[in-house]
């Protein structure tokens, strides 16, 4: 492979899994899933307030019709993934293990579009119009957090934002959805990036990509001039795509403790979000489908699929040919930060970047042993914390000490647990400490 002619940047520390599993689905082109009989759209998909449902059971809906309207500023609209009839609003297994309210739609097979908002000429309309369209089309961060995109684009006026970073790092092992999107929908990614830059009113817009996606970098470089979007290469290191790490790698700025990217003049959006924005602005298409990687060793034909929001995971797995052997674990998202599921009835959501099955042998079933002070977690911590002493403090219920040692800065990327030869569940302990500390802080406020 010939060397790339771009700057390669990185954050400090981090880990890299030797076999990142991306080869399973890297070369499989995006395929569009056939129409299913039934879709179940979870109402509370975004961070913030869940939207207000505006349809009733028995009602006929068209594809792209509004199902739920935003109930506040930090809230995103929901649209029907296909045309059909609303069966009802029911409780289904949610992605966090607790039942979630969902709108069940029985498809009529026609997949007919309803009335869509008119296309906008993004170069002439104002940033506010673009933001309003992004909210209207229900666009949220598609990298995993599902934070409503229009909120990110509207930082407080006293904070000067000068840099829009489009996150194409895809540093999670196994996932290849963003990679395929950048390769196959290069133009939409760049167009979306330019629109996002215009909406936020920033001068510099860059797409940042890990160098293991050299073909995507080349494809983007070839066209980036037309849209005045920069391309930056990044070292293959986890968690390169985490917001704070990405900002440090690209700009050298450090987001302060408890701060947001806007505090250092940056906004980060995922490449999937950029494509959705391009569709929403130039075609009025709401966010009703996304590219998801269905992968893992037990999957017969791992690949990248364009799935409608609301597709049950069990149906998605059928698309990938089912499973070869009994899997040990089902994860939505990547193996490092995704959420383990207990039911295959969970539907695909706007932020489901991957459906991952892991073999029984791949799951750690070791008993945690005492810390041997090797310091590998310290070398791996992307936030430059000291995970080993934190872990020991939390084990002894010393939450105040953990708080003073900045446990709240942890981004829960999992590098420390990954690196730990004693198999200590450090991230889980830190999550517990954060919950305990938040509880006691709430108590104090009262």
């Amino acid at each position: 492979m010939k060397p790339l002619k771009i700057k390669i940047v990185s954050f400090k520390k981090g880990v890299h899994p030797r076999d990142d599993g991306k080869s399973l689905s890297r070369s499989s082109a995006i395929r569009t899933a056939p129409l299913l009989e039934r879709y179940q759209v979870i109402v509370g998909q975004n961070i913030g307030l869940p939207p207000r449902v505006v349809v009733k059971a028995g009602e006929e809906v068209k594809k792209g019709q509004l199902l739920a309207e935003p109930s506040g500023f930090v809230s995103a609209a929901l649209h029907s993934p296909t045309s059909g009839k609303i069966e009802g609003i029911i409780d289904i297994p949610g992605p966090m293990g607790i039942p979630a309210e969902a709108i069940s739609i029985l498809a009529d097979g026609k997949d007919e579009w309803g009335e869509l908002p008119p296309p906008l000429d993004w170069q002439t309309v104002s940033g506010e119009t673009l933001k309003a369209r992004i909210q209207e089309c229900g666009i949220v961060g598609m990298g995993g957090a599902a934070f409503p995109s229009h909120v990110k684009l509207s930082p407080p006026p006293e904070k000067k934002v000068d840099c829009m970073i489009i996150n194409g790092a895809e540093c999670e092992p196994y996932l290849t959805a963003d990679h395929r999107v950048m390769l196959e929908e290069t133009e939409k990614v760049l167009l979306g990036a330019a629109i996002l830059g215009k909406a936020a009113g920033v001068k510099n817009t860059v797409v940042a990509i890990e160098v293991n996606k050299a073909d995507a970098i080349e494809a983007l470089l070839a066209r980036s001039g037309e849209y005045r979007v920069g391309v930056v290469g990044m070292k293959v290191q986890y968690p390169q795509g985490a917001e704070k790490q990405l900002i440090y790698a690209v700009t050298g700025r450090k987001v302060p403790t408890g701060g947001l990217p806007a505090d250092v003049g940056c906004i980060v959006q995922n490449v999937g979000t950029a494509v959705a924005v391009a569709d929403a602005v130039t075609g009025g298409v709401p966010l009703i489908e996304r590219v998801t990687t269905i992968t893992g060793e037990p999957v017969v034909t791992p690949g990248n699929w364009r799935l409608k929001v609301g597709t049950p995971v069990v149906e998605a797995l059928k698309l990938a040919g089912g499973v070869k052997r009994d899997p040990g674990k089902l994860i939505l998202g990547g193996p490092m930060m995704g959420f383990a599921q207990r039911s295959t009835d969970v539907p695909v959501m706007k932020n489901t970047s991957g459906i991952l099955l892991l073999d029984k042998a791949a799951i750690s079933q070791y008993q945690a042993s005492p810390c041997i002070r090797c310091g590998r977690c310290v070398d791996g911590c992307a936030m430059q914390l000291l995970p080993s002493p934190l872990s020991c403090m939390i084990e002894a219920d010393r939450f105040q000490d953990a708080y003073e040692n900045n446990v709240m800065d942890c981004i829960e990327c999992g590098s420390c647990s990954f690196a730990c030869p004693a198999r200590r569940p450090i991230v889980q302990q830190i999550r517990r400490a954060k919950a305990e500390i938040r509880n006691s802080l709430n108590h104090k406020k009262k």
Partner: protein, 280 residues
Amino acid sequence: MGSTIFLSAVVLIGIGLILGAAIGVVYKFFEVPVDPRVELLLELLPGVNCGGCGRAGCADFARALIGGEAAPAKCPVASQEVVAQLAQVLGVEIGRAAKQVAVILCGGDLTHAKGQMLYNGVDDCISASQVAGGPKGCRYGCLGMGSCARACPFEAIGIVNGLAVVHNEYCVGCGKCVDVCPRGLVKLVPVDAKVHIYCKSPEKAPAKMKVCDIPCIGCRKCVKAADEGQFTVNGFLVEVNYGDYPRPDVIEKAKCPKNCLQTCRGHEEFEYGKSIGESA
């Protein structure tokens, strides 16, 4: 040679006398008056510093007793005789505080509650409840990771077959376990209330029956069998009214179809002081 030893001895004894006199003077003039009753009370109090009285420890409680801010019966650990002795030392009334014990309102042990996943993480209830809603199917039930048992200063809680149970004889009702349960299943009840409904799930009966063999399905057989007001019905969940609790014979009369109406049980199965280790 001899004179050197003599001289040093004289100097040291001299210094000793001077400093001793100084200490004596300081002790006399800077004396902090301590109520002699504090010592006496501390000898009577259990000395475990559990905090069940709401004070920082036994010494703090003793000071509060002398200051008249607390009544002797506020100590949940002390026996009736000790409380009487405390009152005698102070020359006050015993004060009224019904002795309480903790009860964990879930009957879903590993035999009765269906598990939904294999949990392989931190042995702690809060951690377990954060992972996909916890290892058991019922998201209101006892997680059985023993956070309450570890919090108990008297080792009165044990994990028997994946379920936390309280040993009535060891429980003093200090209430330390109440706050640590992420499911809020621990309740302090009067020691004489012997009948409990071991379920706290507000879900609909069919949903509960899917994940547990012994849930309260809200059939109200117990309500009919008992006097009025002894149970309160709350949707699909019946709760014992601990202000006016039913007598144990209600169990016989009610014929609870799901066996969630029971007296305290399970505690016979755990050995005092070895409660957590063997469960793992």
